[in-house]
Symmetry: C2
Subunit: 435 residues, 2 copies
Amino acid sequence: MRAVDIIQRKRDGEELSADEIDFFIQGYTRGDIPDYQAAAWCMAVYFQGMTHRETTDLTLSMARSGRQLDLSDVADVVADKHSTGGVGDKVTLILGPMVAAAGQPVGKMSGRGLGFSGGTLDKLESIPGWSPELSTQAFKEQLRRVGLVVAGQTEDLAPADKKLYALRDVTATVPSLPLIASSVMSKKLAAGAHVILLDVKVGEGAFMRTLERAVELAEIMVAIGKLAGRKVAARVTDMNQPLGRAVGNALEVKEAIATLRGQGPDDLTRLLVAEAGHLLHMCGKVASEEEGEARARRTLEDGRALAKFRAFVEAQGGDPTVVEKPDRLLPKADVVRPLLSPRDGWLSRVNARTFGEVTVHLGGGRERKGDPIDHSVGIVLAAKIGDRIEQGQPLCYIHARTETEAQTAAEALLEAYDWSETPVAPPRLIKRTIR
Amino acid sequence: MRAVDIIQRKRDGEELSADEIDFFIQGYTRGDIPDYQAAAWCMAVYFQGMTHRETTDLTLSMARSGRQLDLSDVADVVADKHSTGGVGDKVTLILGPMVAAAGQPVGKMSGRGLGFSGGTLDKLESIPGWSPELSTQAFKEQLRRVGLVVAGQTEDLAPADKKLYALRDVTATVPSLPLIASSVMSKKLAAGAHVILLDVKVGEGAFMRTLERAVELAEIMVAIGKLAGRKVAARVTDMNQPLGRAVGNALEVKEAIATLRGQGPDDLTRLLVAEAGHLLHMCGKVASEEEGEARARRTLEDGRALAKFRAFVEAQGGDPTVVEKPDRLLPKADVVRPLLSPRDGWLSRVNARTFGEVTVHLGGGRERKGDPIDHSVGIVLAAKIGDRIEQGQPLCYIHARTETEAQTAAEALLEAYDWSETPVAPPRLIKRTIR
């Protein structure tokens, strides 16, 4: 078998065998197949696509390229949840505690933010002392004892994906559905969860801009998971405007704590109850999604979800009193200033991508891997799509390090809004469910 | 400017500017842009193509990547001729002496054979002592004195092409018309000739399998040459069966000498007179192609073409008596055995590619760059498409190192033939002329 022949077959639109894919992926991981051949192959995949069977074989091969966690000795069923990335997406911070509080262990490996899209680890690191660095043994021990873990990806998890992702980033081959799907799913499979709920974001603030592509990506990932013997479902959810009201690391943790306390924004709470109910049903903890939703809602009402979050923070070295005193413990920006609406109307557009990009420029995100970030900065929305707003009322509050940076942010954010003279319906959050 | 953005723009089917192309090519040549980005870019070009303007800018950029010869101090007009490669293609060995004998200097840089396609330098090296290694000064001096030079490409000629070609070879991006055209033309432009006649081979024994693709390649190359200020024309010629009767290095030199003596096969002689006439007219030596053809034919009849070949061989260190005693001086194979026709009929197929591949297996060509070759081996055809043949008559003669190798070759060659029960017209050699 020769790498060049495999590239050529894909270039010509042929279906690669499992052996050919594995030869290519393991060879690339070992360094026997050089970057330039992998780059040409990725571009051929970009143009010719892959069947679900090929994508599954690619995913399994990438999962096999490193260590694979086996969590069966911890619990019969371990749940995981993955979002394809958006703006203001603090779902993991709330869903994990809710599901764990309902008796279902959740073990998750998470990533950091890059570009306009935030990362769960960055958000949690707003909490003094909290750390994502856990040995496999510590991961399992915490999963057993607390029922909830969020760790950073270890170096030996799907190394093929790490190498391939870095390569795709510099060869303009990121936006290929089979490559995106296999990248996500290889890490999920290697991380050992039995049940996986995927949240595929769609809209202006997501990598998938159209519903069609988002649904296709969701379908591919669900197909991979099933062919790999896991229980997987996906929801395609709106990411045209930020999720909830807070964007920025500490601001999102604060909103997550409020939501766990039952005082979160309506749209966010509704989405979380639906997702938690779905996940509990997938894990076999309840007889129906409706029953799951009722049970999930109760964890918010009776304080168990908040208590689980507290225990989870403490288990990973964080100060648990953040739950009682978020304002005192979380980092705060020096400058907070409102952005006032220049006109009356119903908000018809609140472009999530702009919010993500402005947060990066405020210092709360990173352009390049490894850049330091400021956890305190960000934006809190005062109004969302469908809301009636009068001239001079605040659209949002900018949390910045300096007046100048706040001013620059304000100018950019104004471009993110559109107003309508007639009432506008708020967008449906859940657009599609793929089981 | 960033390489990844240029890859992305080409991936998305956009037209690159001259500056973008030059940034990419010079950056790649210097090593600032790595192989993996160039590989992804080549694959994007494979899928999205290039306009003639882009291809010309690419060619000029590649030509500029190294030293560019200026031959204006040697002669007002220097002619060059290039073939895209075929089987039994000894045109350069005959055309060069004819045109030079007619008073038009020919200065040419040539390559070696790879795969089923032979190379002019390998053929000439059958002649004891002959060497393609000339300094620029020696090249110019011989061009001035003899009027004919065939040299190897110097390392500093279009280094971007050398690097890119090696990369394309291992990334399945060879068969892209803009990349093929720019590879050929960048070397031609850098080598300094003012008038260039291109011979684009089409058929089973050529890289271009269909007339449509061959014509497209010819048109691109002619367009590039014109946009670059040179006089360029192209002929698309048949390469379904080998050209002439001999395939193999020394065997082809022997056939070339016979043709220069006026005793060559008809089809080969006709093609050469036509091409030489065309080239002489392009160079302004004659008023019409017909006049050029007449003058070219005379160089064969009065011995001037043969004398020019003799002087050329001697100038580059070769033994000139090869012209009088080819059988004594050229290397000869130990075994010569006929392949007999298993049936009666008119020959309808004599697959040139098989002849090329069998010659490689006999030891007369190379699979990989740098492989040593045996100049003595090859095949001499006794019949060609359209010829009537009886069972038991020889189809061809195999020149091999051993009986076993001859036997293996015979079995493979038999697959190259088809017979018809009704008369078959021989293929037209010149299929299209692009001016």
